[in-house]
């Protein structure tokens, strides 16, 4: 390639580039978790591109890093540090107390009540409820399944919402759609082979729609789904966190829908507000109403979802938003 001009610097950076530094600290899952670390990260990057701010990204290897990492962003002069996950709650709280002039936002935790900490939480069960309804209305075998990476609230909230949606469908339509695996966990967010085998077990037990709530382990499910379809079966998956049709990278044609937790947008907004000097410690709760959680489009599966289900979903969504239907999960964020 050709050598760049020597004086390349300074020209391309937006003049608008404020001296604002936005930082992010992951939990042990890391950036590539295809889950909340990743989408938070992408939100910050979007803000960076839009505003031309400085960013620093700190990935935690394990729990012992949290305090150090959060402190290191303070040392590095970050104006806003977004920390990801309830495990960083104590570290964030300590750092926020010690540095009242620095702002923080924490994803998936609302335990901190400080003027410089903004909790970002999601009522994921609302969207998962809709997904459960769609799955129940679409299944051919009358059996659907879900499993989690670990038995923690941010995971189980998907599974519980999903279960409630199925139950609601059964009540409404007098059907008996079965849910398998409401208590299944692979105890890992890495072991994709486990996700694949578990999914095959589900398929063997007759499930034809499976929702993995396990970050990258879900890719194992996609492998199993693709294989099953190649083998002549008709099996679909429900993706979580982001629209799997865009992000999963494999078997997207079999993704019925996705339970989206749109952290990227929220984070981008919060960073923008903060960079503009409008930081507030008011908790952000993602709901169907504010679009923080949502059901993804059906994409290739459009034709497989019965029309009456599609209309019912719109109706349900409206009812949830105006509070007519309450989706309550024991894992829902307590406010």
């Amino acid at each position: 390639g050709a050598a760049p001009e020597e004086e390349a610097e300074g020209s391309s950076e937006a003049a608008a580039s404020s001296d604002f530094t936005g930082c992010i600290v992951s939990d042990a899952g890391g950036w590539d978790d295809r889950s909340f670390n990743q989408s938070t990260y992408e939100g910050l990057m979007a803000a960076k591109d839009a505003l031309g701010i400085e960013t620093r990204e700190v990935e935690s290897k394990d729990a012992s890093d949290y305090t150090n990492n959060v402190n290191s962003t303070v040392d590095a002069g970050c104006d806003l540090t977004v920390t990801v996950g309830f495990l960083l709650s104590d570290a964030t709280k300590d750092a926020a107390e010690a540095n009242p002039d620095t702002n923080f936002a924490i994803v998936d935790d609302n335990a901190i009540e400080l003027d410089n900490v903004k909790p970002i939480i999601y009522d994921t069960a609302q969207a998962a409820f809709l997904a459960g309804y769609v799955a129940a209305g679409t299944t051919q075998t009358g059996t659907v399944a879900t499993y989690g990476g670990m038995n923690i609230p941010t995971v189980t909230i998907f599974m519980e919402g999903f279960a409630d949606g199925i139950e609601y469908y059964n009540e409404e339509n007098g059907t008996d759609v079965k849910l398998l695996g409401s208590d299944s966990f692979v105890d890992s967010f890495d072991n994709r082979a486990a996700g694949k085998t578990l999914t095959q077990n589900f398929i063997n037990e007759g499930a034809d729609i499976i929702m993995p709530v396990a970050g990258p382990v879900g890719l194992g499910t996609m492998e199993a789904v693709v294989e099953a379809n190649d083998g002549g079966k008709d099996v679909k998956a429900v993706w979580v966190d982001s629209d799997g049709y865009e992000t999963a990278g494999i078997g997207q044609e079999y993704i019925l829908t996705s339970v989206m937790k749109l952290m990227g947008d929220a984070v981008e907004n919060i960073v923008t507000e903060s960079a503009e000097g409008n930081f507030s410690a008011e908790p952000y709760v993602g709901t169907l109403e504010n679009g923080g959680v949502d059901l993804a489009p059906f994409h290739d599966q459009e034709g497989n979802v019965p029309e009456e289900v599609k209309t019912a979903i719109e109706d349900l969504k409206a009812k949830i938003i105006d509070g007519e239907i309450k989706v309550e999960s024991k894992s829902s964020p307590q406010q």
Partner: protein, 403 residues
């Protein structure tokens, strides 16, 4: 007539052939390899590599910047932050190193001790977890006066670790079950056990169902060693005490004599009336307790809460620490400090230069490999082997004697 003891090796000889030099070179080599990796994966460097033949200087400058920048941050994050405004901030990194080193030293001692008794304890991870769980539980449920509470927390941690280690020792002694397997399996069991406990109300924070315990009561916490601006706590002093204790145990106590004998030659130990089975149990109890102490330092010193991830990877790093320290107490202590520095500095390196902290693992393992193979380092740097001078001198003497 007793043969005269060998004259002490000369100073020059010690410097040129000494193992100190080899160790320094080993660390340097590991850093160089790590630096090359950092440079090669650096974006500026790869960009400059695109026009390597047009302006090779750019490439090397970029490579140097990447590696040097990363290591500079590593240094700043682990020893002293020369750019800091205040003295407190400047020495903060050093205290971070000591804080991080604390569990590494304690658990490393546990691994080293077992190693000296001929047992390969891969179970420090599980022992830390169980120790931390028990200590944490005592710490956040009980209400007691300060000193007593902390004491009980420590005892609980020691006990938890000792139980977990002791199971492996007992199975080894009673059934001959291979301790490597048992300790690995017990690690997994410990993780699951604590994961389960953290779903029960007794271990969860009030009003939350996240798998995270309440913070430990103030009375159960290690006091800060240098005031509140540093995280360094009295757990580090305990780690030093543990090192002294293990040194005494191994080199000055009858128990240590037994353990070493069992480790070095179980047959001779049995013939001398030393029970190998008892030895296995005792050593695993103590080793487990030391790892449990690492758990205590985490839960009631550094982290203040119990989570499923409380042991981080300290239990596995402890193996490398013990190996690098050649299973001697002070060697383990020093290795723990070194690894603590890497861990603490790695954070700053990542924040400031965006270098993935995994590089620290690479450098650490290369150090252990190179230090373990002095002939390799010697041959690379053409250092004469130890005793090279001595042998010639001796044969000269022999020749003289024969004449």
């Amino acid at each position: 007539m007793k043969p005269a003891p060998d004259a002490a090796p000369g100073v020059l000889e010690r410097i040129v052939t000494g193992s100190g030099l080899v160790s320094v070179l080993a660390v340097l080599m590991a850093l160089v390899v790590g630096g090359v990796l950092i440079a090669l994966t650096d974006e500026d460097t790869t960009a400059a590599a695109g026009y390597l033949f047009n302006r090779p200087g750019d490439f090397f400058a970029a490579a140097w910047d990447a590696a040097a920048g990363a290591y500079y941050s590593l240094f700043q994050g682990s020893i002293v932050n020369v750019e800091a405004e205040s003295f407190t901030r400047a020495i903060y990194p050093l205290t971070q190193t000591l804080t991080t080193a604390t569990p590494l030293i304690c658990a490393g001692l546990g691994v080293a001790l077992a190693f000296r008794a001929g047992l390969f304890n891969i179970g420090a991870q599980g022992q830390i977890i169980i120790g931390a769980a028990l200590a944490g539980w005592v710490g956040f449920t009980w209400q007691l006066p300060m000193a007593l509470h902390l004491l009980l927390v420590i005892v609980a941690g020691l006990l938890g670790g000792a139980i977990w280690g002791g199971i492996a020792g007992l199975l080894k002694a009673r059934t001959g079950a291979h301790e490597v397997i048992v300790t690995i399996m017990l690690n997994y069991v410990a993780i699951q056990l604590v994961a389960y406990l953290l779903t029960t109300p007794g271990f969860q924070r009030e009003g939350s169902n996240n798998p995270i315990s309440p913070q430990l009561n103030e009375s159960a916490m290690f006091p800060k060693l240098l005031g509140d601006s540093f995280r360094l706590h009295w757990g580090f002093v305990l780690a030093v005490a543990a090192t002294v204790f293990v040194w005494w145990l191994l080199n000055r106590s009858t128990v240590g004599f037994e353990l070493r004998a069992v480790g070095a030659n179980p047959d001779a130990a049995r013939n001398a009336g030393i029970s190998t089975t008892k030895g296995y149990v005792v050593v695993m109890l103590i080793a487990g307790a030391l790892s449990g102490l690492a758990g205590v330092s985490q839960v009631s010193g550094t982290e203040r809460v119990l989570t499923a991830d409380v042991a981080a990877s300290f239990g596995f790093d402890a193996i490398t620490v013990a190996l690098l320290g050649r299973s001697t107490p002070w060697g383990t202590f020093a290795a723990g400090l070194l690894f603590g520095a890497f861990r603490a500095g790695g954070v700053a390196m990542q924040t400031n230069t965006g270098t993935s902290i995994d590089i620290v693992l690479v450098v650490q393992s290369l150090i252990v490999l190179f230090i373990a193979a002095p002939p390799l380092v010697r041959s690379l740097f053409r250092i004469p082997p130890p005793g090279a001078f001595r042998t010639t001198r001796k044969s000269a003497e022999a020749a003289g004697g024969a004449a």
